[in-house]
């Protein structure tokens, strides 16, 4: 029997927003099995939600994730508004969609940058994060916050977008388009990035259905699911756009889907801005007096995929039960398919392909030999392994 080496990635901190531990069981360079441990950051939000009023829950669910902090209030609003049976005004719909799409752009840029960083391409990282900055400025201008925007409330939104701000928003969007062209060109046409990401971490259509994966992860494998199209909400049925898919299912396809989606998001925002001009004078929030007994299911397409909220109301002013399913919950499980059989150097980018957010990398991983318990390599060395593979390919190509 061959010896297997255990390489733990985590608990502080692999690729997700929360600390979690991946145990890679390796035979030489090849990952043979992967196990997952979580719960380091379990905050009991579902239970906590039962003790908050509906207005407070918006702020609570916004704090589930810092990157896609508007997707959860979006899905929660959809769920509770379904219980009440109310439809918000067109103006509120447009504002909601603008925030949702801006968030998609900044999240995808963040991912592209981090993916570049882990391949040893710090130029891509710095470009992407530089281009992300104006999007955050835009958030500050519209909502008052660079993150955790607190824009959503029951029956609408908290702040209006003033007519005078529209030219400046348009200006930033125009700049974003040219920068996305640059970035897409740099990423899509680079032979080294092709060599590192094509054929790596492949998920087949059947894997996607089996694990019920969602978002860009599913769309990169040719499964065209997008809640914005399938179960339209907010302003998405009022504007023209298309669902981006790719067939290959590898890391490159996931990058391609995300990059092309940014163009769609810019186009959606531009159409919503026109919609704002048409819906001038409408209320931005309806007055909700009471929430009847019942059950509501709300969905929203976060940058990473479908967010699902199921809310049970008993007629009081707080939810009786509130179930939340974030997209990473189903997407992370696909690691078993995407990483097994790959080399350790490719595992980092395969894990990153589903969801970005590397932080606390210094304490990310320490590798021990499973039998002797001897320390083999630390996080920095693991990343160096990935960077070295890229430079070897570079040297071969040049």
């Amino acid at each position: 029997m061959s010896k297997k080496t255990l390489i733990p990635i985590g608990p502080y901190h692999p690729l997700q927003e929360e600390p979690e531990l991946f145990k890679l069981y390796c035979d030489g360079e090849i990952v043979r099995d992967i196990k997952w441990e979580t719960g380091y950051n379990h905050r009991g939000i579902e239970k906590l939600s039962e003790s908050k009023t509906y207005d407070q829950v918006f702020f609570l669910v916004e704090r589930i994730c810092g990157i896609c902090s508007t997707s959860h209030p979006f899905a929660f609003a959809n769920a509770v508004e379904e219980i009440i049976g109310v439809e918000v005004t067109d103006r509120a719909k447009y504002i909601r969609s603008i925030i949702g799409e801006l968030e998609r752009i900044h999240s995808h840029l963040l991912w592209v940058g981090l993916a570049g960083h882990f391949l040893g391409y710090n130029t891509v990282f710095m470009w992407a994060w530089k281009y992300r900055e104006p999007v955050l400025d835009l958030f500050e201008m519209i909502t008052g916050n660079r993150n955790s925007y607190a824009m959503f409330r029951l029956g609408g939104v908290r702040r209006d977008i003033d007519e005078s701000k529209i030219p400046e928003i348009q200006n930033i969007l125009d700049g974003l388009k040219t920068k996305t062209d640059l970035l897409a060109g740099a990423v899509m046409d680079d032979p080294v990035i092709h060599a590192r990401t094509k054929g790596v971490g492949i998920l087949t259509k059947q894997d996607i259905l089996d694990y019920a994966a969602v978002g860009p992860t599913a769309r990169a494998s040719g499964v065209a699911i997008d809640v914005r199209k399938d179960d339209p909400y907010a302003a998405y049925p009022l504007v023209n756009w298309k669902v981006i898919t790719a067939e290959a299912g590898d890391v490159f396809a996931k990058a391609e889907v995300r990059l092309l989606e940014m163009y769609e998001s810019v186009s959606i925002i531009e159409q919503c801005l026109k919609g704002l001009q048409k819906s001038e004078g409408q209320d931005i929030a309806l007055k909700i007096k009471e929430i009847p007994e019942g059950m509501g299911m709300g969905r929203a397409e976060a940058p990473r995929g479908e967010v699902f909220h199921c809310v049970f109301s008993d007629g009081s002013n707080s939810p009786a039960r509130h179930k939340i399913r974030a997209p990473s919950y189903v997407n992370i499980a696909t690691f078993r398919k995407s990483c097994v059989g790959q080399t350790i150097a490719d595992a980092t980018i395969s894990l990153a392909a589903v969801d970005p957010c590397y932080c606390c990398t210094e304490r990310m991983a320490v590798a021990y030999d499973a039998n002797s318990g001897k320390r083999l390599m630390n996080a920095r060395e693991l990343i160096e392994l990935s960077v070295r593979k890229t430079s070897e390919i570079k040297n071969k190509l040049i």
Partner: protein, 145 residues
């Protein structure tokens, strides 16, 4: 296939198992079924019906433990809820994890938080609180203080 056809076919196939039907809106249907039939129903929805498993929601109410299995038919934006009520004294139900991997984690989570047993689950270990929570204490039950 239209929405009506999909729903009628499902109703016809599982007529004896369905205890109650609620149509909240054209895109939201709730079928309360006998818990014994859950595996056959999930098998049909996933393998023949073209449905995707979203997640399951467990509740602790006066009736006992309730589970809503949410299935989505994406082309028509339909969410089909399969609702079961499980006896509180011996909470157990057949696991769906051998049909599709998507239910693996949520069943482990429901087992951990509510103490519901999922029969034939491949690996019913704790998902969230491994190693730092007492055995037999279920934090999402109503009696938990």
């Amino acid at each position: 296939m239209s929405r009506e056809e999909i729903i009628n076919r499902f109703r016809k196939k599982f007529e004896p198992e369905i205890l109650d039907v609620t149509e909240k809106s054209p895109k939201r249907m709730i079928f309360t079924v006998r818990p014994e039939a859950i595996l056959a129903i999930a098998d049909y929805l996933y393998n023949s019906g073209g449905f995707r498993f979203i997640i399951a929601t467990a509740l602790h109410t006066r009736k006992g433990f309730e589970i809503h299995y949410h299935f989505s038919r994406d082309e028509i934006g339909l969410i089909l809820n399969i609702h079961v009520v499980i006896d509180m004294d011996d909470p157990k139900i057949e696991s769906l994890s051998n049909l599709f991997n998507a239910s693996n984690w949520i069943e482990r989570e429901m087992h951990e938080l509510y103490g519901i047993n999922f029969v034939n689950h491949p690996n019913q270990e704790k998902l969230i609180s491994e190693g730092n929570w007492a055995e037999g204490v279920y934090p999402y039950r109503k009696e938990f203080k």
